[in-house]
């Protein structure tokens, strides 16, 4: 069975890059959003196996989205944060909010594939 993915990122470049990379690996992209509100809606609607989440969105921070989805809505999706923000305290806070893993940009396609695969192994 194909694993379902929702991509939440304001960057069109990143949305397309993540979509193409994960589709090539057999994942099904069930929705993409460019802001936090629509992202939360999509995540609740699909409750996908995986959510890739940017940390700085036009309307809210990714770490707050993770908290809402994991701590308040209690969805079981795994969340991987993909962000240019690489401060240790930010990464720690994201993980405390329910983010399973964190990728700091820039990164290679293989890094994403490996991190995502590790989440399901």
């Amino acid at each position: 069975m194909q694993r379902k993915v929702v991509i939440i990122d304001d960057s069109a470049f990143m949305r397309e890059f993540i979509e193409e990379t994960l589709e090539d690996e057999g994942y099904e992209i069930v929705g993409m959003a460019a802001d936090g509100d629509s992202g939360i809606e999509l995540a609740l609607e699909h409750e996908p196996d995986l959510i890739t989440l940017d940390n700085v969105l036009p309307d809210m921070l990714g770490m707050d989205i993770a908290r809402i989805l994991k701590k308040e809505e209690c969805i079981r999706s795994k969340i991987i944060m993909i962000s240019a923000l690489g401060q240790d305290d930010v990464i720690a806070e994201c993980k405390a909010n329910g983010v399973e893993d964190y990728i700091v940009k820039p990164f290679e396609e293989e890094d994403l594939i490996e991190k995502v695969a590790n989440l399901f192994n």
Binding site: S11, V56, A84, V90, P106
Partner: protein
Amino acid sequence: MGFFTDIEMEKAKDIITFGLLESAKSLEVFIKLEIRLDFGDDFSISENLSNKNITAKSDEVYLLTSELIGEIKGTSYLILSKEEVKSIMASVYPNNEFTEEKYIKKSNALVLETDNIITAGVMKNLANIFNYRTYGGVPQLNIVNHNEAVRIISEGTKKDDYVFFKAILSSKTGNIKADFIWLLDKAFVEAVKKVSKNRKISLTS
């Protein structure tokens, strides 16, 4: 100079240089071109940014603006010419055969992501050294002629209580020579003063 002693200025330059080197390294990885960090004749952190400090470009330019949010506030500007964007596109999408419409969409998305990635290099370093919560907002793109870009930056930099610095991110391949201009509020000055008192502070802390 005024706002910094000589020692503080040296410390500030070290902090900024370290962040800019991170930005250059990230840019190199992202666009797959060898990038050099250049400060022109002199690297200074000053209270005024002169228009003559902005490298002239003949064509329309891509002006990318990012707001710095958090305990240190500020703005960064990245200026790329059409030719430079073409070089970056050719490097990132070596086999690109996009229609004109697709090319515009792709190149706009690519330069926005480029700005996001390189701005983070400086910000991450400021946040780590000062132990501040600070991050960049969503970058904005304006495609305008060079004079208009200079006007926008001049308007943006007409602020009291801000300091400015500029570096050039350059690449031999693709002839990239992009101005990367920053203004930071006086929270940066205060933070530098604080860390200058602590001789043991490490740039990688």
